[in-house]
Symmetry: C2
Amino acid sequence: MSKPTPLSGFPEFLPAQRVVEQHVVTTLAATFELHGFANVETRAVEPMDQLLRKGETSKEVYVLRRLQEEDTSRDKGIGLHFDLTVPFARYVLENAGKLEFPFRRYQIQKVWRGERPQEGRFREFLQADIDIVGRDELPFHHDIEVTRVMLDALGKLADPDSIGLPGFRLQVNNRKLIQGFYLGIGATDVDEVMRLVDKLDKLSPEQVASQLVAEAGLTPEQAEQCLALAAIRSIDDSFVKEVRALGVDHPLLDEGLDELAQLLRGTVGLATDKVRIEADLSIARGLDYYTGTVFETRLDGYESLGSICSGGRYDALASDGRTTYPGVGISLGVSRVLVPLIQRGVVTGDRSVPSAVLVALADEDSRPRADEVATALRARGIPCEVAPSAAKFGKQIRHADRRGIPYVWFTSVDTDGPAADSITHEVKDIRSGNQVPADPATWEPPAGDLRPTIKVSTSSTNETETVQ
Amino acid sequence: MSKPTPLSGFPEFLPAQRVVEQHVVTTLAATFELHGFANVETRAVEPMDQLLRKGETSKEVYVLRRLQEEDTSRDKGIGLHFDLTVPFARYVLENAGKLEFPFRRYQIQKVWRGERPQEGRFREFLQADIDIVGRDELPFHHDIEVTRVMLDALGKLADPDSIGLPGFRLQVNNRKLIQGFYLGIGATDVDEVMRLVDKLDKLSPEQVASQLVAEAGLTPEQAEQCLALAAIRSIDDSFVKEVRALGVDHPLLDEGLDELAQLLRGTVGLATDKVRIEADLSIARGLDYYTGTVFETRLDGYESLGSICSGGRYDALASDGRTTYPGVGISLGVSRVLVPLIQRGVVTGDRSVPSAVLVALADEDSRPRADEVATALRARGIPCEVAPSAAKFGKQIRHADRRGIPYVWFTSVDTDGPAADSITHEVKDIRSGNQVPADPATWEPPAGDLRPTIKVSTSSTNETETVQ
């Protein structure tokens, strides 16, 4: 077999890079669990009729066929899930009798889309979703709750003492607010207005204004009002006054303003330098099926990636005809954030192996003694490995160095003299060259050396700093 | 949408059941890392020509097709991986220049096979693989190493103080030993003899003997010798003497006997009551491509599942024509072990949520104060959730009880008297009913209550005991 080439759109990491993804997944899971979210994994496949239920052909579903299947027409078949929302909605309906509501779950899994690969878009990628789903009803305070949870999680990802990713800007809006506003100015095709306003991240305000007139039947004055609304931003509830100043009235607008203001007030004090939250009245999530709160998130310095963490409120996440399950949730595109950062070398692990210690080998016969040292270290939670061969010590130290292993352990047996057969242990920090006597039953590396850590290169200066 | 029904062969867990799988995966990952194994994840798909390279049509590959793809004949396409060995071999070749050898990796991922679903067989299942791969050569001590690592991992899964699964019996053999033996007795079609002897777990010795005569061209005496070899078992290296007593000589037999004896000696002291290791000279892994050590594992009380943890030595795990990468590894069928145990209720989590505490709510207006309590607890690593509504306290306690949350936190504000506006905190252990004053900045639950634990029901007595 000749050397294989990567498959476009299916990113994979080298071991030191995978360390970053592991840290991120572990941090997200721990944060979600602190907030009481239970973990769920769903199968990778769903029936095709579920995957295409909302006419979602834009998601480019991968259809599965068994190699030895002759008759492919028997049923509509199965395909790989393209998000974690469709499978979760199905899981809730399938297990509704066995779940307790409101049900908080997080789910961190790969999803697949047969899209044309491009920057920030992949055919296989990792998503981390949180959702809260109720039976029949789900009070609005849960919208505030998921926002707080995701702010907490993003804060840990951006914290230089944790992962040290770039900062995040969480943008929130409310569908009731914008739909109520459009109704209030007299628009008739509200969905079309929303779809066109959603193009503001690609088109100029003038272009959107003329499309609003040409395609949504608005007057130029109405179009101006829509653009004025979409231009409003605030980091607190002061957007309410700005919207009111536009002089539009509608009960749905009132409801949306109240909800969004509650959400901003409910997250006071949680924003940091690196994780901000703002009301952005241009956010609409036009193609999705949200009914209230909507979220988008930008990664600082990587705005061209688009939203890397999105979601909102669904008044009917799932329904079996008799019972409706409203939900609110956010989905973080883990691969969408990490693949560009890792591929550009902005973040990486400082080791390609988990080992903190390489136990050196004086000769092959002493391997059992080296294994004993390793077993003693592992019993106290210190990852280590024994040298693969009894090469010269200089070569064994280089072996550790190439993998980023900080310590090499030496064991020697006195062969004669008064201390014959006594064993001497020493451990060398190969970064400083410092070598000291050590006891395998008690020695511990500093906590910062126990596990691989993440190296973040500060892109502005190209300096590299190491954080835990 | 009506209530969906499960897809046969695609097992999914309820949240309390998923706790068990999470514990198992976390335990395996931590153990593998203690032994210096780096984590790798490969994409779910491989090119079809790779998947079918060894004529592996028996694995029933799932072929992928993009829904909107018109011309499906352009290339041979891609399919879902059916194990983690084929993708790992490809990953090693693709990244050989960037990896350090010997390369130890673990990989815990789903794999897919379009087989007819039956007990212990699934279409989607989780595997946990460890492999060590060398460049050009890989000394035999790595065979001993992977055995030690898997014994350590299985020991933790079976340990009543960890997960508490049933015990495991790891059976080892060596292909050189049996092939050398068959050559030594004068067999000409060694592979066919191995394939037939491998049927001993399904057929009687008499049936296998007559097939050896009829299909592999052995004399009845040669067939008897093969069965005598396959009947040998030992928990130490005493099997060597038993094989020698059969009076067969061959250099390859000598090599195999020496390797297998080394392996048994190299694991002395690691076996426990619940995890045993034995030389079992009937093990052949007939359909796989091993060249030395071979492993199989039985789960105590679930022998009908067959081997739940298998592997061995490949002298050519991968090759690009110029360089060969020998490997040795073992693959644990996580789903194959857990799905039957979980479905029968032998193991489950004791909570359906991670929360150790439910912060109760006196009225909806006090939600911000309850959020503050929750934030203080989370800051010290205590998972918790705030009650969804200010229902009667009895109802809030039942809410906690139904989820298995052990503690309910009550906050009250004195509205008059000398202590007006002072806040009183109390926490109730709802199992004992014991309620005590507590400070959100310092209170901690006992360590055993912090996270969900695993409940193991002792099948013989149907008693249920809770372990961490």
